[in-house]
């Protein structure tokens, strides 16, 4: 199955990219999880790293999982074609959470606007950086998702090239 082997140029780039993202997500997830547990067990008020990494036990877990999935793509340097599956799923998870947090920031904005309209509060732009999704748009998962987009492009190209995907609608 040479054509999907990651040993060739393009494949190697994808694998390295995936691994890099994997490490980033793992680190992020570990810190979020640790902060969250710290809050829970030592009952301190909400600490957060540099004001950017939120304390979020389950969110941290999710990032760890995304990281682990990306890292599994490494097994492909051995020529195992299925690792492309790990890359795709990693991209998928990255997108799910990236978009999710963006939506939540949007919802926070909508809430702020609502209470302003109802006369219960003033209009602020606070919701952009602080809200239900922790540091709002500064949330690292959003940036990592954006960083994963080029990888998504590369992967899509590779899959089309190797005939795994055909046409617009991916149904296989």
């Amino acid at each position: 199955m040479r054509w999907l082997s990651m040993r060739q140029g393009n494949g190697r780039l994808v694998a390295a990219y995936a691994v890099a993202l994997g490490v980033a997500y793992l680190a992020l997830g570990a810190v979020e999880l640790a902060l969250g547990l710290h809050n829970l067990l030592w009952c301190s008020e909400n600490a957060s790293l540099a004001g950017i990494v939120p304390t979020d036990i389950l969110g941290g877990f999710a990032s760890l999982v995304t990281g682990a999935t990306f890292l599994s793509a490494i097994s492909v340097l051995r020529g195992v074609r299925e690792s492309w599956g790990y890359v795709i799923v990693g991209l998928f998870l990255s997108a799910v959470f990236g978009v999710l947090y963006m939506l939540i920031v949007g919802a926070d904005g909508l809430s702020t606007w609502l209470s302003y309209v109802a006369g219960e509060g003033d209009w602020t732009w606070e919701w952009l950086t602080s809200g239900s999704a922790g540091p709002g748009l500064l949330r690292p998962e959003i940036w990592l998702f954006l960083a994963s987009l080029p990888l998504a492009h590369l992967t899509l190209r590779a899959l089309k090239q190797f005939n795994v995907l055909r046409g617009r609608r991916a149904q296989a």
Partner: protein, 672 residues
């Protein structure tokens, strides 16, 4: 206008709902099949001046008498005799889908085949000779791609043409000897019974008799020809062997594999996207974590993104209520309209956004083909807990809201497994209980607040496992192991926006109708109980809840709750929690005369709870009767008062025991 009745049938996952939506424009009348809990969908479509009345039959692999779904589908075809039956066949899965088709031909239904997912088949590398297939089977075959609405016009044309066909072609599928000989012998015996021969297709009936089909045997045993039949069957057994049902199943597949498929299907690519994705989703180590992560995303999506919409609806109805009642002079009527009716409507509708978003997310997971993978990885764990593999969806949904969770148990086939899951589900701490935990915990538990809250979730899971095990061993109805997993994993596909939205909307609307009316009624009831006797409660513009009926009720029940350390206020709060768990916070606020934000500190200073009794109260909230909406859903899904009442009683008892246990144990340790 001429009217044609069209039945839609097909294997699960073939895109039947999509085709139904395409034909009916997404407008469906949803109900239940008479006497059953299975959903019945009907719709209309007008084509070339003819009205097509479309009935969606349950998705099924076969037409035996062994499951309700199959019986419903079969009986509809035999008894209602629809003008046309459209069998939706998955082109990317041709071989297996043809099995049902053969059975439909046995039934002598007027079949039109919609060969759906044509694009998926192409992308898998398949080439299907549609003309040859049509010729071999003797029925029209129309290639379609439902997701892109391709082939719909041709399908409608074919339906009309088939309906006009006066001479119903009897497509006899030959099973070869010795089957055919015996079948015709049995058929000729059956022919002698005028009643049977006028109602059923003879060859089909003969085949069913041979298979010892339960439903058919019930009917046939009353026939005068029964004795003759029995003799013939004994003879047949000697020739064909004991299990003729299996023998015939094998024969059908042989025909498909040897005479149909080779002439019709070619090609197949070695590697598919589905295989790649499964590598990760079904991974031994990553499978479950990925699932849990996606689940967390679903909840965040359903609750955080929907929050502003809920707020909007509440605000809207509050304002409307104020507006309408401002024109009314009588204070009682004004309050009734503003707080009772509009307040009630606002409450009901504020539930809708999170539930709709939950269903939306769930529909996306389902339509993409992912959900069976989740069932796959969770199966082992579920079975160990005494639950069916598919129980995991309702159990996890329960953490968001128990109402859609209970509704989701529909996918569990076996009744016993389904009811067990429903009974245990409310122990999953739904999101409405969270504000209650936070309120009490922050009031009396100080630094341990967060940990105590998390412990409620864990307690809920532990109790659920315990109860599942207990019910399985103690209640005879549930005895035995959960049924094993047999499940098809469809190909992954990108869900269509329209279908997914329709899916979610249908289920959300159902919730509104059923649970909504109950919630509204109860809100009005509680309005009454907390506002009357009017003068006593409304003194000098103040709201004195201590004088209301509800407070009287609370004081009446107080002695029963004293062992738990709950006073009348707690009892009243629990009562309101019965309608909706979120109401507990508001109730405390009202009773203490403060706003909801200040409730926590007010609670602390009023000394209603000690740390110990507060913790016990949290546990009680977790465990006691499900809210009204959930009860409504439980009644609807089980169709039985017995189980609904059982759910109420056992949970109340369990809550009492658990709270009592906590208080007793705590006192032993020296807490008050």
């Amino acid at each position: 206008m001429e009217k044609v009745v069209v039945a839609l049938i097909g294997n699960p996952n073939v895109g039947k709902s999509q085709i139904f939506n395409n034909l009916t424009g997404g407008r469906a009348h949803v109900g239940n099949w008479p006497g059953k809990t299975v959903e019945k969908k009907e719709g209309k479509c007008v084509h070339k001046g003819v009205e097509l009345h479309i009935v969606d039959l349950p998705g099924t692999y076969s037409l035996t008498a062994h499951s309700i779904d199959e019986l419903i589908a079969r009986n509809f075809i035999v008894e209602e005799k629809p003008d046309v039956v459209v069998d939706i066949v998955d082109a990317s899965n041709l071989e297996r889908n043809l099995y049902l088709l053969l059975q439909l031909l046995e039934l002598e239904a007027n079949v039109v085949v919609a060969l759906n997912k044509w694009d998926a088949a192409k992308s898998l590398g398949y080439e299907i000779n549609v003309d040859e297939l049509s010729r071999l089977l003797g029925v029209p075959v129309i290639p379609t791609v439902a997701t892109e609405k391709m082939g719909m016009e041709e399908l409608k044309d074919a339906i009309l043409e088939a309906a006009k066909r006066k001479e119903r072609r009897k497509n006899i599928v030959k099973y070869g000897e010795p089957f055919d000989g015996i079948i015709s012998e049995i058929a000729s015996i059956l022919q002698k019974d005028g009643e049977l021969s006028s109602k059923y297709p003879m060859r089909w009936l003969a085949i069913k008799v041979l298979e010892a089909d339960e439903e058919v045997m019930k009917t046939v045993s009353k026939s005068p020809v029964y004795d003759e039949l029995k003799l013939k069957l004994e003879e047949a057994k000697k020739v064909l062997g004991e299990d003729m049902e299996i023998a015939l199943a094998e024969r059908r597949y042989s025909i498909i594999a040897e005479t149909i498929v080779p002439r019709v299907l070619t090609g197949a690519r070695p590697l598919t996207l589905t295989d790649l994705l499964d590598k990760a989703f079904l991974s031994k180590h990553l499978g479950i974590p990925i699932f849990l992560a996606l689940w967390w995303a679903l909840f965040r999506f359903a609750f955080d993104v929907s929050a502003p919409f809920s707020d909007m609806l509440s605000m809207l109805f509050t304002e409307l209520g104020k507006f309408v009642s401002s024109g009314i002079s009588d204070p009682q009527l004004a309050s009734f309209i503003a707080d009772g009716i509009f307040g009630g409507l606002g409450t009901v509708l504020s539930f809708f956004p999170p539930i709709f978003f939950l269903f939306l997310g769930l529909a996306m997971l389902e339509d993409s083909g992912y959900l069976p993978r989740a069932a796959f990885v969770m199966d082992r764990l579920m079975v160990k807990l005494g639950l069916h593999g598919r129980s995991f969806i309702p159990m996890l949904l329960g953490f968001g809201c128990n109402v859609p969770a209970v509704m989701a148990t529909r996918t569990i086939e076996k009744e016993e497994d389904r009811i067990l899951t429903i009974l245990v589900n409310p122990l999953m701490s739904c999101s409405a209980r969270l504000p209650v935990y936070l309120l009490i915990a922050s009031a009396v538990l100080g630094p341990w607040a967060a940990a105590a809250t998390y412990s409620m979730y864990i307690l809920g899971i532990a109790l659920a496992i315990l109860m599942a095990k207990l019910f399985r061993t103690v209640i005879p109805y549930f005895k035995g192991k959960p049924s094993p997993l047999i499940m098809e994993l469809p190909l992954y596909a990108v869900p269509t926006v329209r279908t997914t939205l329709i899916h979610a909307w249908e289920r959300g609307r159902l919730f509104l109708r059923k649970a909504g009316t109950i919630i509204l009624l109860v809100v009005i009831l509680s309005w009454f109980l907390s506002n009357y006797p009017w003068e006593a409660v409304h003194q000098n513009g103040e709201f004195v809840i201590e004088n209301s009926y509800i407070a009287q009720l609370g004081r009446l029940l107080e002695p029963y709750f004293r062992p738990l350390g709950f006073n009348w206020m707690a009892v009243v709060a629990l009562f309101f929690g019965f309608l909706a768990k979120e109401a507990v916070v508001g109730t405390f606020a009202t009773m203490l005369g403060v706003s909801e934000e200040e409730a926590s500190s007010a609670l602390a200073s009023a000394g209603v709870f000690t740390p110990l009794t507060g913790f016990a109260f949290m546990a009680f909230t977790l465990t006691y009767t499900p809210c009204m909406a959930t009860l409504g859903a439980i009644y609807r899904e089980t169709n039985s008062w017995k189980w609904t009442i059982f759910a109420v009683v056992y949970e109340l008892a369990l809550a009492y025991l658990v709270a009592l246990g906590i208080v007793t144990f705590g006192r032993l340790l020296g807490f008050t």
